[in-house]
Amino acid sequence: MNRKTITCKINGVQKEFLVDPDTRLQTVLRDQGYASVKFGCGEGACGACTIIMNGEAVYSCILYAFQADGQEIWTTEGVGSLDKPHPFQQALVEEGAVQCGFCIPGMIMSAKALLDREPDPSEEEIRLSMDGNICRCTGYEKIWTALHKVIAQGKGRES
C-alpha cells in the first residue's frame, strides 16, 4: 500500500494528511477530530457523513481521501458557533427539530450548500437538495419547518 500526502483546505484552514489509497475521506476527517462527520451507512445512502466540497454537498463515506487533494472542504465544525449559530442551526433549535441528532450535521451541510447557492429556493429545489439525508427518528417535518423558516426570514445566505 502506497501512503501518499494530500493537501486540502478544511473549514478555511490548509491541512496536509498522509493517506492510504483505500481510505475513505470520512475516516480521515473523523481521525482528524471532525466529529460532526458521522459514520452511518458507509455506502452513500443515509447522508450522516455529508460535507461540503467545493461548494457542493457530498457523501464523505464513499469518497476516497485522495479525491480531496487540492479541494476545499467544510464540515459542521466550520458552520456557525455556539455564540453565533448559522440561521438554520438556530431554527433547528427554535423548532425543536433535533431528536437523536445523528443526522443533523449532514442535514446542516446539505441545507447550507443549498442556501449558499440559492437563498430563496423553490420547493422542488429544496426537495432535490435534501433528498440524500435520512432521519431515522423520522423527524422530517420539524427539520423542514426550520429550513422554511430560514428561507422565509431571508436569512439563507447568512453564515
Binding site: N2, P21, D69, D131
Partner: protein, 282 residues
Amino acid sequence: MKIVDFIIPEKLPDARAALLELGEKGIPAAGCTAFQFYADGPERTAVLLNRLDLAGIRSTPEAFVIGAGTPLTTLHRFEAEGWALNGVIAQIASHQIRNISTLGGNIARVFPWADLPVALLALDGKILIQGREPRTYTVDQYFKTQPATLFTPGDLLTSIEVTPLAPNTGFAHVKQRMKSESFSMATASARVTIKDGIATDCRAAIGACIPFPTRINAIEEALAGSDPSDRPALDQAVTATLKPLSFLSKEGMSKDYIRHLAATTLADAIQQAAQDAQRRLS
C-alpha cells in the same frame, strides 16, 4: 476492488500514459461512486481524472457537447433550448451522489439499472473515445454490448454529444422504483416528434428490466403515423413489441409482472414525450 495506489495527472496525455503503463492494474477514476459495486474485485491503481478539464457543456448547432467528467448536477442545472437531460438527472440517486458522479462514469461501464444509457439511446448522439486515435461511436454502436469492452488500456471516454430536441419534438424519461433512491425496476425513455397530433418520428429505449438497455425499434416503427394520445392502441402496440424480449425478475416480482411494468412504463414515456412535444409547439 481494492485501491492500492493513486495517481493524479494534470493533463490528458499524462493520464492516458499512466493507464497505458498500468494496463489491467489501472482504473480511471472520477466520482468513484460506482467503485463500491466492485468490492470483491482485484487490486487497482486509481488514475484520477478530475483535473483534466473534461467537465462542462458546450452548445453547437448540431449537438450539446458534454465533457465526460461533467458531474450529474451540472447536467441537471444546465438550461438551453432543446436540452432534455434535466428530468433524467433529477431521478438519479440522491443530491450528494449527483454532485460527485459523472456522465462518463455512468456510461463507461453500464450497470443494469443505469439511467443515462436508456436516455441517450432515445435522445440520439455520439460518444467520443480518446485512444491511440480518436474514435467516435453512435449511441447505438456504443450501447450495442457492454461498452467497457470497447476500451483498451490508455483509452479514455472524453465527451458525449447529445442531439438537441427540435421544436416539435418532446422527450420523457420514466422509471419505476420501490423507494425514491432505489435502483430502477423498469426504465423507459422516449423521444417523439409530432405533426398535427400524429407521431412522425420516435426513438424509444428501455432498461433495468432487461439484462442490457436497448432500443425498441418495433415500437418506433409501429408508432410512426399514429396518434400517441390513443392510449389503448399505444398499450396494445407496446405489449406486442415487447413480446420477444426476455425480462428479469426483480425485487421478488415475477418476470411476467416486470414485463407488464415495462410495457406500462414505456407507454407512459411515449405518451409523456408526445405531450412534451405538444407543449413545446404551443
